[in-house]
């Protein structure tokens, strides 16, 4: 599988270690990642809130770059995924929007055709590779009780994104289960992390985050697992701010899915990206080093 890799600003510039984990695991699943000169998706709360047309045309430009190479777009961020998918949906279903986009794009010698699709890593792992392919690569199961957070922009609008059920998502839970974790059901599983208003109204934003963290903490998880760098930052850096604001004591380690996948696969150098985490677990995440693994008798095959 070869994709135009849409890293997204947040992951590239604020969470490079999570990007590292994606690039680490990709070749093991025969995924080739091609980097192109994309702009920001663009992000709906910023550019789209300013001008719907500007948003549409820049999204069309990004997709057109991938089309030129004959590649589908692979997203790693829920926000980018929603933005590009929504734009694509508009471009493909509303001829007048498509011609508007192409009028503008012709000025920079590009054309939106509609030939490339947009797919998120979550979908690649769950829908394309599936449990069987992933479990083949698991060497050292990661034993943890976790809460998953798929993220607003992977779940809604469900009819267009079609990643999982927007009210009762289960696919992400399956994905962590394959790696050996126990996914925990919790009350506000589909609730927002509050990131969307952080800049305009941090008090509201962190109050939302507190509600979400309360709901997670109720089931006492060892960690939270996400598929979006923005949600990651909300939960990880955000919980320290919530603790300051509300006198709470949240200490929930947060992981991007492929980080835990890399750990489960027993890949070397996982410490490199785990070191970037600010909330560390109380227990060793990597239970045995790769070297120790080798001298031990085979004991991971039976299930």
């Amino acid at each position: 599988m070869k994709y135009a890799f849409f890293i997204g600003c947040t992951m590239a510039y604020r969470l490079p270690f999570a990007e590292k984990s994606i690039r680490m695991v990709a070749p093991h699943f025969d995924i080739e990642l091609v980097d192109l000169p994309f702009t920001c998706c663009p992000e709906p709360s910023g550019v789209r809130s300013f001008s719907d047309d500007t948003w549409l045309v820049f999204a069309a430009r990004n997709i057109a770059l991938a089309e030129e190479k004959g590649l589908d777009i692979l997203t790693a961020c829920a926000g980018c995924h929603e933005s590009l998918s929504m734009a694509k949906h508009e471009l493909d279903t509303k001829p007048e929007r498509k011609s508007l986009a192409n009028e503008h794009l012709s000025a920079v010698d590009l054309e939106y055709k509609g030939t490339s699709s947009v797919i998120h890593l979550h979908q690649v792992f769950h829908d394309k590779l599936g449990a069987e392919e992933i479990s083949k690569k698991v060497e050292t199961p990661v034993i943890m009780r976790v809460v998953t957070h798929s993220g607003c922009h992977l779940l809604r609008p469900e009819e267009i994104l079609q990643v999982d059920s927007s009210e009762a998502p289960v696919k992400f839970d399956k994905l962590v289960e394959i790696l050996g974790m126990e996914p925990l059901e919790y009350m506000d599983k589909t609730m927002c992390c509050g990131a969307g208003v952080r800049g305009q109204a941090s008090d509201i934003s962190f109050s939302i985050l507190k509600e979400k963290l309360d709901s997670m903490a109720m089931v006492n998880p060892d960690a939270a697992v996400v598929f979006c760098p923005t949600c990651f930052i909300s939960f990880e850096s955000g919980q320290r701010i919530v603790n300051r604001m509300f006198g709470t004591e949240f200490k929930i380690p947060v992981y991007y899915y492929t980080e835990l996948l890399a750990v489960a696969m027993g890949l070397p150098e996982v410490e490199e990206f785990l070191a970037g985490h600010r909330v560390k677990p109380d227990f060793p995440l990597v239970h045995k080093s790769a070297a120790e693994q080798q001298v031990q008798p085979e004991n991971t095959t039976s299930q």
Binding site: Y13, D52, F58, H104, G199, I208
Partner: protein
């Protein structure tokens, strides 16, 4: 308000019309949950009944989580309407400062959250590839052509007046 804006408001009004004020949107809204003064049901009501923008600034407090949109039994696309309202507000130069700054960054380098200065070094250390940069000239042409620049300048001008 320009004719264009007037026309846009009429469109938003049409889109909001099926609303029968059930309140499912508000009870699903994470912002409403912690700040009940922000109420999507009332925002839609205001659009339908007066065709006016809701109480100043409220549309900018939407977290764009799409929960209301997903759950509305009448299929009202609240997020489209809220984005429409934001567009109108931005066209008047009333966007919040942080949003204006983010859009300015997008216009200059095509990226909204460039992060800290040390990030290139961090990427290097992790052995990550350099990110191909979009052509600034292309960004300029498309940004200007779609009207983004005019709106940005208006908001920047308001900012500097306020200072």
């Amino acid at each position: 308000m320009t004719d264009e804006s007037q026309k846009r408001i009429e469109e938003l009004r049409e889109a909001a019309k099926p609303c029968f004020q059930c309140g499912i949107c508000s009870s699903s809204c994470p912002v409403f949950r912690v700040a009940p003064e922000v109420n999507p049901r009332l925002a839609i009501d205001a659009v339908v009944s007066t065709g006016e923008l809701t109480e100043e600034g409220n549309e900018w407090l939407c977290a764009y989580c799409l929960m209301c949109d997903q759950r509305c039994p009448m299929g009202v696309s609240l997020t489209d309407i809220l984005i429409g309202l934001k567009n109108l507000s931005a066209a008047e130069g009333n966007a919040p400062f942080n949003i204006t700054k983010a859009v300015e960054s997008f216009f200059t380098i095509g990226v909204i959250a460039p992060g800290t200065t040390g990030v290139e070094r961090k990427r290097n250390k992790l052995g990550l590839p350099e990110i191909p940069k979009p052509d600034p000239e292309q960004i300029k042409i498309l940004f200007e052509g779609t009207g983004g620049l005019e709106i940005l300048e208006k908001n920047l001008a308001k900012e500097s007046l306020a200072e």
